[in-house]
Structures are given as structure tokens and as C-alpha cells.
């Protein structure tokens, strides 16, 4: 499999990259790790005229903490996220998700920004960012804008990124005390895309009830989405298996899976229930710990 021809540039700084994107608006495609994009280029399902490789752009691959949030550079690889103990201590869900993506080589090179911008409905990060109420930082020649992850994923392979923008950072609000999260992924085999993935981030209030909650689902809609019905059912509720089961069923009802080689829609809906239940339980366990 051979890609169709394209041009390639590797700008040295973000200003240059943004200038090129502006000049070649609509023809240029940002290249990060390449593990999502290259298979599509080789299948000739994508034929951009120009690839803008952002590997030389400095300062985009760090993981840092501010008073309010965790900031993950768009070029942070899955492996870097997997191995960051500080991040895992605050947001163990990030380690859950990073460890399940692809295989070691893919984790070495694939980046969170690349995956988020690519917006494959079966990719794991988008659902996790729904659960975490994360924000996405987009830079253009005109400046920077910060958009919520909820609403960012418009459709299959479509996001709110403009053709002249580069995704530079993911921001995740620091969880309050008594918080926990979990990502539960069902795959057919190691390294496979998710059949279903469920991301849950939960914060318990002083009364032991669920104070804050986010649930994101992978691979059961045209785009990853937040299971808002389940969230509504649980917010303010007393956590427990029965409640979790009900909420998981609500998540399942809200999902819109398609039949494919991972299974028929009926199976996937049942798996949404199961994976969401597991994630709720695990998140609750972590919130208590």
C-alpha cells in the first residue's frame, strides 16, 4: 500500500507552522505521530496535498500541573502519559487509557493530540476527555482559544478544529478530593480498537453522595460522546451497585452503535452497560481510596 503523493514540511516553530496552515488552508494536514494518519494515507482514503509535521515544534510534549488543572502537551505520546507517575496519582484514568492504546510501538509514537484531532470514534482519548470535562487548546495565527471537549467531537473524523489551527494542549481540571476515575475497554485482542470503551470520573461529596460525574463512551456513536442521561441519573445519588446498574443501562440507551466486525449493535449496547458499570465501580473504589 502506497500513499498518493504529497508535499511535506517540518516547520521549526509554531509561528511558521501556523503561517503554512493559513497559506495552504484546506490542503494541508497536520502530522503528529502519524500512527492514525499514515494507515489512511496508505489506503489512499486520505489524500492531503501537504503534510505539516509538527515534530520540531518545541514545548508541546510536556505534562505539567497548575493550581487548577493538569496540562498535557498535544505531542505527549501515549507512552509518556502511561509512565507519568504524577499524572497517574491525580488521574489514574489516564494511565488506564494510555496502557490500552494499540501496542508498545504505537504508544511510543502516537500522541494524545494526534488521536484527539483525528477523532476516530473508536479511539480512547476522546471519551476519556468527555468524562474529565477536559478542555482543548487550539492555536491559530490569530491567537489561542480553549474549547470544552464536550461538543468538540462533531462526527466521525470531524472536530471543531479549523483548518488553520493546531491543537496544542489538553487541559484537565484537577479533581477535588474524594475523586476517582477509570477507563474500561473491551477489545477483541491486544492492540485492537475498542469494541466499547467507558470512561468514568467521579467525585464524592461530604455526604457520600456523588457530587460530580463525567461519563464518556468510545465506539458506540458517530463520535465519542458524554453519557449525559447516566450522569443525570447519578448526580446527587448515593453510589452503589444498583444505582450503577441503572445508570449504565441509561448510558446504553443513549448509545448509538453500528453493526460491524466487532459485533452487532445489540451486543455493543449490552457491552456499554457492562463496561460503564465496571468503570463506575472502579471509579467509586478509587474515590474511596
Amino acid at each position: 500500500m502506497i500513499p498518493a503523493a504529497f508535499d511535506y514540511v517540518r516547520p521549526a516553530d509554531i509561528g511558521e507552522a501556523l503561517r503554512i496552515l493559513k497559506e495552504r488552508e484546506g490542503e494541508a494536514k497536520v502530522l503528529s505521530g502519524g500512527y492514525s494518519l499514515l494507515p489512511l494515507l496508505k489506503l489512499r482514503l486520505a489524500q492531503p496535498a501537504l503534510l505539516v509535521d509538527i515534530q520540531a515544534l518545541g514545548g508541546l510534549d510536556g505534562i505539567s500541573r497548575t493550581d487548577d488543572d493538569m496540562r498535557i502537551g498535544a505531542r505527549a505520546t501515549h507512552r509518556r502519559i502511561l509512565e507519568d507517575d504524577g499524572l497517574a496519582a491525580v488521574l489514574p484514568i489516564m494511565r488506564d487509557a494510555a496502557g490500552g492504546i494499540g501496542d508498545p510501538q504505537i504508544r511510543n509514537w502516537g500522541t494524545i493530540g494526534g488521536s484527539v484531532a483525528h477523532a476516530d470514534p473508536a479511539a480512547d482519548w476522546p471519551a476519556v476527555l468527555q468524562a474529565l470535562h477536559a478542555s482543548i487548546v487550539l492555536r491559530s495565527a490569530g491567537g489561542e482559544r480553549v474549547v470544552p471537549a464536550r461538543g468538540f467531537f462533531i462526527d466521525t473524523f470531524q472536530t471543531g478544529i479549523e483548518a488553520t489551527e493546531i491543537l496544542t494542549e489538553i487541559r484537565i481540571p484537577l479533581p477535588a478530593p474524594r475523586s476517582g476515575g477509570s477507563y474500561q475497554k473491551l477489545e477483541r485482542r491486544a492492540g485492537d480498537f475498542s469494541t466499547v470503551g467507558a470512561a468514568v470520573q467521579m467525585t464524592l461529596g461530604g455526604d457520600g453522595r456523588i457530587a460530580q460525574l463525567g461519563i464518556g463512551l468510545t465506539a458506540v456513536g458517530d463520535a465519542p460522546f458524554a453519557a449525559t442521561h447516566a450522569e443525570d441519573a447519578l448526580r446527587g445519588a448515593k453510589p452503589g451497585d444498583e444505582m450503577f446498574r441503572e445508570a449504565a443501562a441509561a448510558a446504553s440507551r443513549q448509545s448509538r452503535p453500528a453493526d460491524d466486525s466487532h459485533g452487532p449493535a445489540e451486543y455493543k449496547r449490552a457491552m456499554v452497560t457492562e463496561m460503564t458499570f465496571r468503570a463506575l465501580r472502579a471509579a467509586f473504589g478509587r474515590a474511596l481510596a
Binding site: 489512511l40 482514503l45 466521525t156 460491524d260 466486525s261
Partner: protein, 149 residues
């Protein structure tokens, strides 16, 4: 894959029928259509760039109105070919008077078959995408007919 639906259009059946059987007018509503070539009254060839997000394929689409009865119904056959992939569609459209005088309800049904590479590797995104494209096409037709007045 089978799709169907109904669209209410604030125009007469004659007007709607004339629009949807005129390639130069309806053509622009085809998903990703870049050019239309009219071969004869019932045969057209379109070039279209179809896809989702940045995933696209360029198709050469041959269209044929295989049956028509103005201003009630028409059947259109389409065959699109791209390297390694092909799409075949059979669309049937029935026009009935709408609830309001001077309006039309278009009842449509389409059978879409995808062959080749897209069907093999793209199955998980095809149905949703096709559904959306069809929806967009009808929205477009409605808007254009309204705009024509």
C-alpha cells in the same frame, strides 16, 4: 443498506418534480459534487469528492433516470466508481400533495450498496455517513427549491 424518509417542501409537485429531474439544478445537491455532465435527458455523469472529515474519495458517478411519471414519481440509478471502491444506489421518489395547499411531501427510499475497499475497511463508518449524506442532500434540495421561490 436501505434508507428512507419524507421531506416536506413548500412548493408544488410540478415545481419539485421539475427540480429533481433536472441535473443542472439538483446536481449541486449531490454529496461532494464538483461537476455535472449531461449526456442526454436521462443520463448524467458527475464527478464528486465524497467523504467524512478529511477521509475522502473521488468518484465518477453515472446517473440514470430509469423511470419517471411527472409529477408523481421517479426512479434514479446511480453508479459511482473510485479506485478500488464502487457505490451503487437505487433511489425511488414519490411526490404527494402536502398538508398545506401548494406544498409537497417527498417520500423517498434508497438502496445503497458499497463494494470494494471502502466496504471492507470502512464498514464501521459507512452507514452513518451515508445516512447523513442523504439527509444533507434532501435538506439542500428543499433549501434550493425554496430559494427559487
Amino acid at each position: 443498506m436501505e434508507f428512507s424518509g419524507a421531506v416536506d417542501i413548500p412548493a408544488t409537485r410540478d415545481h419539485v418534480f421539475a427540480f429533481v429531474t433536472d441535473p443542472n439544478r439538483v446536481g449541486a445537491c449531490g454529496p461532494g459534487v464538483e461537476s455535472i455532465e449531461v449526456i442526454d435527458a436521462t443520463h448524467f455523469r458527475a464527478k464528486a469528492k465524497v467523504g467524512v472529515g478529511f477521509i475522502t474519495a473521488r468518484f465518477v458517478v453515472d446517473l440514470e433516470i430509469t423511470e419517471q411519471r411527472a409529477p408523481d414519481m421517479a426512479i434514479i440509478k446511480a453508479r459511482g466508481q473510485a479506485p478500488g471502491s464502487a457505490v451503487d444506489a437505487l433511489g425511488r421518489m414519490n411526490l404527494v400533495d402536502g398538508a398545506e395547499p401548494g406544498t409537497t411531501t417527498m417520500l423517498w427510499a434508497a438502496e445503497v450498496n458499497l463494494s470494494g475497499m471502502l466496504a471492507s475497511v470502512g464498514a464501521r463508518m459507512v452507514e452513518g455517513t451515508a445516512n447523513k449524506m442523504i439527509g444533507q442532500a434532501f435538506d439542500c434540495m428543499r433549501a434550493k427549491i425554496v430559494a427559487e421561490g
